[in-house]
């Protein structure tokens, strides 16, 4: 069964940040997850681009402030 966009984003975050997927809530952000620093954020952007086969603009990268916004940004690009 195809995974939903939020589940796929959660799995990417879990893999990049090294935290359990079930610890990533809707408002997970660099303020709530210690592992989510600026370097990891860049890795995260690259991993998301690979996972979804998309390319984020500078503005979209700046808007990825928490899990919910990453999902919204990906859905916006995919037209989901």
């Amino acid at each position: 069964m195809t995974q939903s966009v939020p589940d796929r984003v959660r799995n990417v975050l879990s893999a990049v940040l090294g935290v359990p997927a079930d610890s990533i809530g809707e408002f997970a952000s660099p303020q709530t997850l210690e592992a989510w620093d600026s370097l990891k954020h860049m890795n995260l952007v690259l991993a998301l681009e690979e996972e979804f086969g998309v390319s984020f603009s500078d503005e979209q990268m700046l808007e990825m402030l928490n899990f919910k916004l990453i999902v919204a940004t990906v859905q916006e690009i995919l037209g989901a």
């Binding site: 408002f27 808007e63 402030l65 919910k68 916004l69």
Partner: protein, 396 residues
């Protein structure tokens, strides 16, 4: 409400009412006058009038409101009325009923009052003269002396049917205030809010008023004074739609529309109500400004400019009215979840939430709680102050 002795020849009063289809239906239900010229569009279209005409006596019934509640008010016994119906009234017309005292007969305690009705185009639709006898309440000899001290706290919320307005009306009622509030269009919602206030056990007065119109504000002041006898607090939460418009496409009319609500409306209301507060040497005025005056957002120049003007006006009055015991403070909300922001894209709201230290948008109740504090005696040592209800987005 003036006593008979205080009424002078030349005294005036007004009542404003917008005629609706519902008014026609109620009048038909009450009187049984379902003449097709009033209720049947098809029938009326085949007459020289082309469209249904409002019952003349429906419009004229607001003369009764004027005489019974304003000039002279309680104790008035109407014993004569002449009427001439000069111009047809239609559904949607806004009628202004004007009364002016023409003669006063002290011995008989009677008044002769000109009672004319005008439509929104200032055309006189009805002319007439009323004769009224004025009775006064007989006070029992053992009644306690009337006291000038007002004990019940009362508040007026301008724009009480909006999101923040409704929350403020209910919070003030919950805090023990009797509440009057104005609305502009949403009569049904206003009636629902009134029911909620009365369910809390507080008195509620609802007035339709465009506060940019001085005449309507004067009528509002007469109503509030009559019902409450005075006023403790005034809250300005009226606002209009604030569409995003680039400066290149902006017309002055849009700027003026915002100034009418936020500045002219506030000016008119304070002109009418501050004297009531001055007489008590106490009053609380609370103006709802906006986070965007300190943290501007693009394409909102009319809204931001008018709210900034309101901010300046409030501070100027805080200084001037402080010696009279009247405090003027502001509540500055961030984006608040009301109908006003319903059209803002979801992602834009999520971005604001993410950039807010407390990680959510403001709720109307958050703003109302701050308003309630500023209306209460707990904030008596604050004036010219702003409470920023924005979850920590601006820290100044």
């Amino acid at each position: 409400m003036p006593r008979f002795e205080e009424i002078k020849v030349g005294d005036t009063a007004v009542v404003v009412h917008a005629i609706t289809e519902k008014d026609i239906q109620r009048f038909v239900d009450l009187t049984g006058d379902d003449n097709r010229i009033h209720v049947d569009k098809e029938y009326a279209s085949h007459t020289p009038l082309k469209k249904p005409v409002v019952h003349g006596m429906l419009g004229a019934s607001f003369i009764s409101t004027l005489i019974g509640t304003k000039l002279p008010g309680d104790g008035a016994l109407w014993f004569s009325q002449s009427l001439e119906f000069l111009f047809p009234v239609r559904v949607g017309d806004v009628l202004t009923v004007r009364a002016e005292v023409l003669k006063k007969h002290d011995g008989e305690r009677t008044l002769e009052i000109r009672t004319d009705i005008y439509n929104q185009d200032n055309q006189k639709v009805t002319a007439g003269t009323a004769k009224v006898k004025v009775y006064e309440e007989e006070v029992p000899k053992d009644a306690p002396p009337a006291s000038a001290e007002q004990t019940q706290e009362t508040a007026l919320v301008i724009g009480g049917s909006g999101g923040i307005g409704e929350a403020s009306v209910l919070a003030l009622a919950g805090a023990g205030f009797d509440v009057a509030f104005t609305y502009l269009k949403n009569e049904e919602k206003a009636a629902q809010i009134k029911e909620k206030v009365e369910a809390i056990g507080r008195k509620c007065v609802v007035c339709r008023a465009d506060v940019a119109d001085e005449g309507q504000v004067k009528a509002l002041a007469q109503t509030v004074e009559r019902k409450f006898g005075g006023l403790t607090a005034i809250v300005f939460s009226a606002t209009g739609k604030a569409p995003a418009i680039k400066f290149g496409a902006l017309e002055w009319g849009e700027m003026q529309r915002h100034f009418n609500v936020h500045v002219k409306g506030t000016f008119n209301v304070l002109k009418a109500f501050v004297p009531m507060m001055e007489s008590r040497k106490y009053g609380k005025i609370v103006c709802v400004t906006s986070m965007y005056i300190e943290y501007p957002s693009t394409d909102l120049a009319p809204y931001i400019t008018a709210k900034s003007a309101l901010n300046g006006f409030s501070k100027a009055l805080a200084l001037e009215l402080a010696p009279k015991g009247i405090r003027v403070n502001m509540v500055s909300p961030g984006m608040t979840e009301t109908d006003l922001v319903a059209a803002v894209p979801q992602k834009a709201k999520m971005l604001i939430e993410a950039r807010t230290p407390l990680q959510r948008l403001s709720q109307p109740s958050d703003v109302a709680n701050a308003i309630c504090f500023l209306a209460s005696p707990q904030s008596d040592f604050l004036t010219g102050e702003t409470i920023r209800v924005n979850g920590g987005q601006t820290m100044i």
